[in-house]
Amino acid sequence: MLKTPILLILCVSVFLVPAAEARVYLDIDSPAFVQIPIVLPKWKSLEKTPPALGAKIYEIVSNDLSLSGFFKVIDDQNLPPPLHEREGIPRTLFLQEWGPSGGELLLAGEVQLDPGGAYLKLRFHLFDLVEQKHLAGKQYEGALQALRGMVHRMSDEVVYQITGERGVHTTRLAYAVAQDEGKELFIADFDGANAKQITRNRSINLSPAWSPDNKKIAFTSYLRRNPDLYLVDRDGENFRLFSSHAGLNAAPSWSPDGKSIALMMGMEGKSDIYLLDADGNGPRRLTRGHGNEASPTWSPDGKRIAFVSDRSGTPQIYIMSASGSDVRRLTYDGNYNTNPSWSPKGKRIAFCGRAGGRFEIFTIDLDGSGLQRLTSGSGDNESPCWSPDGRYIAFSSNRAGVSKIFTMNANGFNQRPLTRSKGSESSPSWSRRFE
């Protein structure tokens, strides 16, 4: 009498077993590609601090955030009435009132200049308006001259909170600028400010390369009627000869540990890749054969070097070990591929390739797959160089007439010129972060 239902139950429980853990899943694809809107209310200048200081900070950080490529800045001009008058740091309790701003994040802060006018305190807070919570807050203290550096540190911090990796707003770029006769070297901040001339020899100065410790630049100069290799400190002081073998001493590239320099030398009547120790020992020849070898660049682990060789008939990118062995060809598309630059993340190489009669910037995986073209349109784009976090690429482009240094995200997004100066710029080199 009782058996049947019990048996029934037993049977049923068997049926239930296979469907034990069947959670429903929704597949969502095709996100909209939109920058994260970040609200930036006016920066507050506390007490007797001149409002111009707050305004200056605002300008720098607003530019940094849109330069980073992650954000769309909603500045105070574009806020609806009650909000656009707001200054400084809102209280977490009142975050809801920022709803009408359209922002997902909010960055606000204040600055206080000390009575002497030489030191300042910079304070900021970052809020998540979607989750209505506080994400981060910091205070920086320092000399007024260090203002830009402090603001850039702050921008780096915002990028870190959102992406898990610090930004590169404290970095600088070195590049060459054409003069009446020849070229001189300059250094500018990532946002194009503070451009400073670091060579003043009226000669032809080429191919600057930052040392990994950010202290000096290696470059080639024709001062002695030969393309010799020189070093100069980043402030332009201590200009010294480093290598002056007959023929080329050109296109220097520092190893990631700063102990050697790979370069082009022409001692054997043609250009080959050689290694020089930073303390002057060497040079050791790495490439052999009948081709012309150029433009070495190190892998971030210091074990391999990518370079240009026309041993196959046309210039192509090759990879070899740092001792010159295990040479293999990387590029096969196109018949002119030069200027390799190895990403600090290690997985991709950027280079300049001729396509459709123009020079464009490409990136490619280490195994030769995944070729991606990053520039198009008019003009020639050359000399790609990665940022130290591997998220940006600097290059030169004459799309607007005269050649300028441009920066862009590593996927080609947000291409913009570095400076607004008129000179013809070329050969960018990207420093590491300045603390």
Partner: protein, 211 residues
């Protein structure tokens, strides 16, 4: 008495010696017995000798004048050469150098560094000039047009200068007289952006570093 006659004897001996030392008058008398044929032959021979003498004299004169001409020509060339030299001092590059229009540039095809036949002739002329002025030392500059990347063009320019140098060496110029330098695309002579400008920029240019 005896002494007197001795003196007269000595005097007469001295006179005799003196007379004997005087130029003798030689009276040449043609052999009246020479035949007419012989006379003609001798005459012809003489004429021939005269002609030859004249010829030799003429040649000697010519030789002299030619040597003079050459000397003149050489001097003229030297003058021309000296005149053609423009001293150049660039602020950013050490050393004073000279350029001469008599040392002509040679040109290259796009992305190539071989010497073309028409350029070989120019290099020959340059070599000849160098042979004439054995003290002159030169530097060959390799240049590229503005296209292509800066660093690879340094390598290409090095090759172009090297090719021109090799050719001069093959014509007998001593290696220590010719050095090379690559300027890549850094020194354009024509700032244009078309093939006409580019072909002018792809060149090997020779300058004089010491004379």
């Amino acid at each position: 008495m005896l002494r007197k006659s001795l003196c007269i004897l000595v005097l007469m001996l001295c006179l005799g010696l003196i007379v004997a030392g005087c130029p003798k008058k030689t009276v040449m008398k043609d052999e009246p017995s020479v035949t007419k044929e012989e006379a003609a032959r001798i005459e012809a021979q003489k004429a021939l000798e005269r002609a030859e003498a004249e010829k030799a004299a003429k040649e000697a004169r010519e030789k002299d004048s030619a040597g003079l001409k050459e000397e003149e020509a050489r001097k003229a060339l030297q003058k021309e050469f000296e005149k053609s030299l423009t001293a150049r001092k660039q602020p950013g590059i050490e050393g004073e150098i000279f350029e001469s229009a008599m040392l002509k540039d040679v040109y290259f095809d796009y992305d190539r560094y071989e010497i073309r036949p028409q350029d070989a002739e120019i290099l020959k002329d340059n070599a000849d000039l160098l042979k004439r002025f054995p003290k002159v030392k030169v530097q060959i500059e390799g240049h590229c047009d503005e296209r292509g990347t800066i660093e690879y063009n340094l390598a290409l320019g090095e090759r172009r200068a090297g090719s021109a140098r090799d050719y001069l060496l093959s014509l007998g110029i001593s290696p220590d007289r010719v050095s090379i330098i690559s300027y890549g695309e850094e020194r354009q002579v024509d700032p244009g952006h078309d093939e006409e400008a580019w072909s002018k920029n792809r060149r090997a240019h020779t300058i004089i570093v010491s004379k």
